[in-house]
């Protein structure tokens, strides 16, 4: 899932200083799971902004609403049916960067600002802990690397083996993090499949070099 974290409060507050009526829109999917931008977090932010506004002698109105997914147009159109969006000076989106942009596109006459920083695609490790696992390079090598992504899990994204900084199986950048290539080697050795990583992987196309990207399901190509 997409993992995000909330921006500093002063930055969010600064976006809406001077507004009289602000709508805070939470997102009920990825950022709700990672406790950054779901219904509960939207309510907390609304309360904080309300208190800050009153303490500084203002009377800004902060309302909140949460949609299932801000990255899906139909949910945003639904938002307009339930809430008088036109009546707000600004909208604070608590979605990932994709959701913020779609919200700004659907309500393009409104000031739409982000409350979160989108940080990575990752997995839940335990309560309140997520780790990055995918950099969406568009050219997956996991079939050769024992299901461990060197593009993401190696600090340098090296495709042909480790750098010279591995110590006690840990990354030179962070001794609390495993060296991706040490783990890849270990797992393949245990499976008897070390030949999987003897191939020299040539310089390759990385989807991150060509953006914004578009993906169309084959069944829908004609419609597009």
């Amino acid at each position: 899932m997409i993992v995000a974290s909330r921006k500093p409060f002063t930055e969010i507050k600064g976006f809406v200083d001077g507004c009289k009526k602000v709508l805070i829109v939470g997102c009920g999917t990825c950022v709700a799971v990672c406790l950054a931008g779901g219904e509960k977090e939207a309510a907390i932010l609304a309360s904080q902004l309300y208190m800050a506004s009153r303490l500084s002698g203002h009377a800004t109105q902060f309302d909140k609403a949460t949609v299932e997914r801000q990255c899906d147009r139909e949910f945003l159109v639904d938002l307009g049916r339930n809430v008088d969006v036109a009546g707000y000076d600004a909208i604070i989106s608590m979605a990932c960067g994709a959701g913020v942009q779609l919200l700004a596109e659907v309500y393009d006459s409104k000031v739409v600002v982000p409350a979160l920083n989108t940080v990575f695609i990752g997995v839940a490790e335990g309560l309140g802990v997520w780790t990055e696992r995918c950099r969406s390079c568009g050219n997956c090598v996991l079939g050769e690397t024992a299901g461990i992504c060197p593009v993401t899990m190696c600090a340098k994204g090296l495709l042909n083996g480790p750098c010279g900084g591995t110590r006690h199986g840990k990354c030179e950048v962070n001794p609390d993090v495993d060296c991706a290539w040490a783990k890849i080697y270990e797992r393949l050795a245990a499976r008897g499949r070390l030949e999987d990583i003897t191939r020299i992987i040539p310089g390759r196309k990385d989807a991150r070099g060509m953006h914004p990207a578009t993906a169309v399901h084959p069944a829908y190509r004609r419609i597009q």
Binding site: K156, G161, G203
Partner: protein, 290 residues
């Protein structure tokens, strides 16, 4: 005229290269002084490419200054700061400046340096860079387009025999040998037994191996211990030996390691690095009897 590094590699003699770090600024006097002091004994000067991610002068410019002063440079080419277009472009530029020797490296991570918010590039890794250099020397770029005039390079790559675990490092080292190099330069080595598999493999492929030798500075013991120098793993026994000692201890240890490597035939030469303390290198060379 002094022989080229490529000629030195095939001479069968024990080789000596010295690392120089480009200045942070435009004052090149220290590097020129180091080069002038050592050019008669060193087979080449390895010019680091923004080592430890500390921003400094472009290494190809320093290489040219070394050439002007009568020294033989080895240009370090790091994948950290340039994409494949810039890497190839700089290599063509280096060739046009008369630079014949290159060392392809991944590059220390930006988090060790003085621009920690910089975006590391790593469009290519060091193995892929070696492949790109081969393409250039065959008259085409890595996308297959023909070059007008092709460079000639004596190509080197690095390996760290002190990596732990060693097998994945060895696998990458073998890939570098497969792509094709003229020499291997190792990270600083302290446990000499670790050199044997690397030098044996290199010799089997007709490739010379220069063992890395680092001048250890007593004042930097805590940095060594904390892992502040990427790829530099100093054993506890040596840390204890230099802690609180004078700089002559660092000279003694480096010379001792060189003598032992040479006596045991564990390398074809050494690459000495003493960042910030290059004035000690002549003492090391003398004490080691090179």
């Amino acid at each position: 005229m002094k022989r080229s590094f490529k000629e030195a590699l095939v001479s069968g003699e024990f080789l000596l290269t010295v690392e120089v770090t480009p200045p942070k600024g435009t004052d090149t006097s220290a590097i020129i002084s180091t080069m002038q002091n050592l050019k008669d004994v060193a087979d080449a000067f390895g010019v680091a490419d923004n080592p430890r991610s500390v921003m400094c002068m472009s290494p190809w410019a320093v290489c040219r200054l070394i050439l002007d002063g009568g020294g033989e440079p080895i240009l370090h080419v790091s994948c950290r700061d340039r994409n494949r277009i810039a890497l190839q472009s700089d290599l063509l530029g280096a060739a046009s400046l008369g630079i014949k020797n290159i060392l392809c490296v991944s590059g220390d991570h930006v988090s060790f340096g003085d621009h920690i918010d910089a975006l590391p590039v790593h469009d290519l890794d060091s193995v892929q860079l070696l492949g790109a250099v081969h393409e250039l020397t065959h008259g085409r770029d890595m996308a297959g387009h023909a070059l007008s005039g092709r460079p000639e390079f004596c190509m080197g790559a690095v390996a760290n025999p002190e990596s732990d675990p060693l097998p994945p490092q060895f696998l990458k080292f073998q890939k570098k040998l497969r792509v094709g190099v003229d020499f291997i330069q190792t990270h600083p080595v302290f446990n000499l037994d670790n050199l044997a598999p690397f030098v044996n493999e290199a010799r089997e492929k007709g490739v010379k191996l220069l063992a890395g030798v680092r001048f250890l500075v007593p004042d930097e013991v805590s940095k060594y211990r904390e892992g502040r120098y990427p790829g530099l793993f100093v054993p506890d026994a040596l840390l204890a030996e230099i802690e609180g000692a004078g700089s002559e201890k660092g000279v003694e240890i480096a010379a001792r390691l060189i003598r032992a490597m040479r006596e045991k035939g564990l390398c074809d030469g050494v690459h000495i690095s003493a960042p910030g303390h290059e004035e000690k290198i002549p003492d090391i060379i003398k004490a080691a009897g090179i």
